[in-house]
């Protein structure tokens, strides 16, 4: 418990609660049950994309194509649905698109050895271009009711997609904690050569990370399309950057090997909540980006100082020969 309280997840959850309380001072509507579930509901796309991005960041990589992958998968979903495909097939097609998009990144990064930022920046352009080529640049509208329906389902007053996303977070969290190969992501990110020497399949792990990013982006596309009810050409535009910001906020370190799915999800929730809070406070939407930027910079700055202070403490302890801290040294 003490460990949790000192974690980034706790810091960001605390900030989130403070933010809600602060907003509540000016507009008590925020405390209504519906307002809270609405914030959760609005954050789902970003939560799912961020979970996929998390695996890549674990391995010390970066994927700036996830937003475009979501857009592409949404276009495939919308197009196949309007062609009259049954909904299960259309969703499968979208998921396969996401996985393939992720695998293209994976091939470039693991086999052709293109640095991740370059590879995914290239595919960002490619996927966005493909989106427009498939649709001819027009929006996909008049989607069948079958895809919009699940968005209205509720269990115990909470939307179906919130439950679904919570389930996905729980599964991801359980897997990353308990399933041994999932720890490979951390090992590769922490020390790639060390992991290689230990016999971990480094290439395969990297391959899996980028494929998972594509898979989660496609999941996000399904939720996104269902919630919005149409696919615009700038669907999920800029979500790649928001997903990276969400991960950093949630304590997933870009230096690799550190972080949890819970952190990534809370980070994404936080990013969305800021947007909702500004609406509740009556601040025009144009200030969204400025606030998101300031909060991201503030959090990493605080985190840097906390880390430096802890490091200093540890060093001083070592000089004093403090036995109680020696254990955690190595």
């Amino acid at each position: 418990m003490k460990k949790f309280l000192r974690s980034r997840e706790a810091l960001i959850t605390g900030l989130l609660i403070l933010l809600i309380l602060f907003t509540g001072l000016f507009n008590s509507n925020i405390f209504k049950f519906n307002s809270i579930t609405e914030i959760f509901n609005a954050s789902l796309t970003l939560v799912l994309i961020s979970l996929g991005e998390m695996f890549v960041i674990f391995t010390r990589g970066i994927d700036v194509s996830v937003g475009a992958t979501t857009g592409l998968a949404a276009v495939i979903l919308g197009t196949t649905l309007n062609l009259g495909w049954p909904i299960e097939w259309a969703i499968s097609a979208a998921i396969v698109t996401g996985i393939l998009a992720g695998m293209v990144n994976a091939v470039g990064i693991t086999f052709l050895r293109v640095p991740p930022i370059i590879m995914t920046l290239g595919t960002l352009g490619i996927y966005r271009g493909l989106m427009r080529i498939i649709t001819g640049g027009s929006w996909i509208e008049n989607l069948p009711q079958s895809i919009k329906e699940p968005n209205l389902w509720k269990f115990a007053g909470i939307p179906f997609y919130v439950w679904l996303t919570l389930l996905v977070i729980a599964i991801t969290a359980w897997i990353t904690l308990k399933y041994k190969p999932a720890r490979y992501f951390y090992a590769v990110g922490d020390n790639e050569q060390g992991a290689y020497i230990l016999g971990i399949p480094v290439r395969l792990t990297l391959f899996a990370a980028y494929t998972l990013a594509g898979f989660f982006a496609a999941l996000a596309a399904v939720v996104f399309t269902s919630q919005i009810g149409f696919v615009s050409m700038n669907a999920a535009d800029g979500f790649e950057l928001k997903a990276i910001a969400a991960n950093v906020l949630g304590g997933v370190s870009l230096t690799g090997g550190i972080g949890t799915p819970l952190g990534a999800a809370i980070g994404a929730l936080f990013m969305t909540a800021v947007h909702s809070m500004l609406i509740f406070l009556g601040v025009p939407g144009i200030w969204d980006n400025a606030f998101a930027g300031v909060i991201l910079l503030t959090v990493v700055y605080i985190d840097y100082h906390v880390r430096s202070a802890l490091e200093l403490q540890r060093r001083q302890a070592r000089i004093r020969g403090d036995a109680s801290l020696k254990g955690g040294e190595s």
């Binding site: 052709l112 920046l121 080529i133 606030f291 930027g293 990493v300």
Partner: protein, 346 residues
Amino acid sequence: MNWTRYLRTWEFALVVLLVVEILILGMINPTFLNAENLLYATLDFTHILFAALPLTLVIITAGIDISSVSVMGLASITLGLAWVAGINIFVALAIALLVGIIAGLFNGFFVAKTDVNPLVITLGTLFMFAGIAQGMPALLDLLGFKAYGSAGLAAYQYEGITGLPDSFIGLSEATVWIIPYPFIAVLIFAVILSLLLHKTRFGRYLYLIGVNPKAAVYSGVPVQKTLIWAYVLSGFGAALAGSYLTAYFTSARADLGGDALLPIITAVVLGGADILGGSGTIWGTLLAGLVLGFLRQGLLAIGVTNDLIQVVMGAVLVTAMAVKQLMNVYGEYRLNRKALANKERG
């Protein structure tokens, strides 16, 4: 020295690529083989060059600055607002460039004083600068200052702050003989940066920081100061790009340059800079920027749509990198083989 030879061939390859490309374009459409038309065509991507050239310095230090696309919009809107406030347009231009420098200082301080990844920092400032650029006109309007220009809010949302004086707008079209002013500015900027990078101690520091920051610290390199300067130059270049776009599109907008991130980074990387730091040249970036810019122009000229061009650009970036990386791997493999052969003989 093996790597200098490698770099030289890379730039030479770019020159060859540029010439071949122009010849092919000329075969498709003979108007391309006219120097005046070619120079005029550069106006379409001058802003990419302005931003990419100083970004090379940042990438050499193993850093990155993705906030430059927001700085473009911020500089543009600053220029417009200053002019609406009744300030002389050239003073307004100076203010816009100053804003770019301040933005760069902010990035530079944050990068130099903390160990936070530059990508995260400039991601934060990307959001922040874009937000400020979008919010500033609204805030000023709220305070009773007619920030949207004479035409009001509706016109502002549609086309930004318009009605800038001809003396400023004309700068984007004026020429010396057949060379457009903006292209001359690019060349001057490139010469200055290249002298800085290749002829001064500052330039060598940049490479050393990129190769091994710890070694740089221990050999007494002023790492923090050098890093701050690199980001300041990047901010300045982005502000130049934003101001140029303002004149080129004859209006000041907060979202100018928003889609320039991919071409800017492509130009630097295709120009031979290593995203992991330690290598790169100004002339490489300039040549790569020209190759990409003319490629885009050529594809547009033969009727390729903008969407497909985006796909082609992405593919060019990925392919170029893959070829370069595989060549590196092959080169190492050959050296290993040679070393083994020598050992057997010796």
